[in-house]
Amino acid sequence: MPEETIGQHLKRQGISRRDFVKMCGLLVGAMGLRYAPPLDESGLPTHLDHARGFTSASFVANALENKQRVPVIWLEFQDCAGCSEALTRSQSPTLVDLVLNTITVEYHETLSAAAGFQAEQAKQDAMKKYAGKYVLVVEGSIPTDNDGVYCTVGGRTAVDLLKEAAAGAAAIIATGNCASFGGIPKAKPNPTGAKSVLDLVTDKPVVNIPGCPAIPEATTGTIAHFVVFGALPELDSLHRPMPFYGNTIHDRCLRRPFYEAGQFANSFDDEGAKKGWCLYKLGCKGPTTYNACATIKWDQGLSFPVQSGHPCLGCSEPNFWDGGGFYQGQSAPLDRPTIAVVGAAAAAGAVVGVGVAAANRMQKKSAKVEKGE
């Protein structure tokens, strides 16, 4: 019997036509379809680039009705499960439901009912059954020091598990800063030799969805993009999908006018903070942080850190834990030499100066002696 399509699956679950169309619209929005890649071969009308709403939604509807479900295998390594947590609490139930239930997560340690060897067996079965077809989602960094002993599941190291799962994956999505760039496990002094997925997997398409946690809509939107188009969205130089990481927090910040006007909060409870002025002086990393917080926001668009009065930490950028302090202005240098080192440099300069001056004087004297003065 042929595998049922997503449309058939939804119908069986009792999703009405109206709800289905709503879902498709939601997906179109979530995927930011303005960035749709040129997909003539896969049947996407070329005018989709300019069309939003009905045309792209109907395209998505068409794809969902006729495509088979894409299995997802979700691995967790050195993580806090915060990205999974964010997904399950994302408050956009239709979207998450669509992605988690409909598109099918075959293996997820935190969410699965099965445990232990049963779960591992289920994963092995899924990897065999869907070889070359499944999407691998990785959450958490991968320790490599001491043969990777710092993170093992069922007696096997994270490196081993990642390589095994990556071998049969159609595409890999690294969710959260840890999987994307190493995150907090990789912060100085990186005791476990933590690495990102991209550091270890070089022969498969990898998308990074960094963030701490990753914005759930960005993760699901990227998975949805893969389901609908059979391809990953356009990526930036750090392998982040452009629809979600095309702008900085600063670019879309609601406090931006205060930045331009030079109106800054100087502390967390001064007049400026109460009036909602710019948080640049309190260490905001918004200008160099690419993420969708300022537009998609969190908890169904309720708010995001800067709106709530806290500077952006830059959690979707590499090495943000070692970025020179969360509350230090971004223009400040990352490292400062200590007073002792500066003093030593000054002393060294002075000593060389005295030496050269003395040498010059001696030369002058001996020249005078030679001349017989």
Binding site: S237, E260, Y280, T288, P318, A332, A345, G353, A357
Partner: protein, 227 residues
Amino acid sequence: MTMNWENVLEFARGPFFQVALLVFVAGMFYRLVRVLALGWKPDRVKAKGSKVGGIAVSFLKGIIIWPFIPWVKNTFSRNPIIYLAGGLFHLGLFVVIFLGTAHMLVWKSLIGVGWPTLALPIVDWFAAGAIVAMIALLINRFVNPVLRLLSGPAEWLNWLIVFLPMVTGYMMTHHLWFPYETLFSLHMLAVDVLLIWIPLSRISHFMFYFFSKAIHGADFGKRAVTP
């Protein structure tokens, strides 16, 4: 590791900045000691006035009075472009470096003390003024035959190394043409190069100006001939 602007920025704000700062400090102390070691000839003139008074008058006139009544000085009437553009450049540089918010935060992180700053649009006009002034000075240097003869590679390099941080900083503030972190990286690289270049070049006059002003002021004061 793939090369991207985040790595460049980390390098330029981190280790490279630190090295540049230490080279700057060591270099300036070297220069200072070399100048001091030149020594003073004994001055046996009988004091007719106060040395300290001479120094004070010299600084007051040089910084607060002459810039606002430039026409009484020969320097102005002979070279109005250099006088005006040079003045505008130095004023703009001072405002940007000390009264721009981003730069104040750099000082705060280095010396631990912050101060109130001007709004971005105001600092912006000073920055634009300084950049225009620098371009005017460059053209003047090209066009004026005497200046052109006096200019060697060091003079052209001085101009370029001071100009690059200014123009990248301006572009960065206005998000012109390139992504912010690209311009931020270029700005920091340019600043690091400038820090290293200062002690090797005549840009070190930012320190020696005050020395020469003080020494001449003291001489004038002692002889009671303060101009």
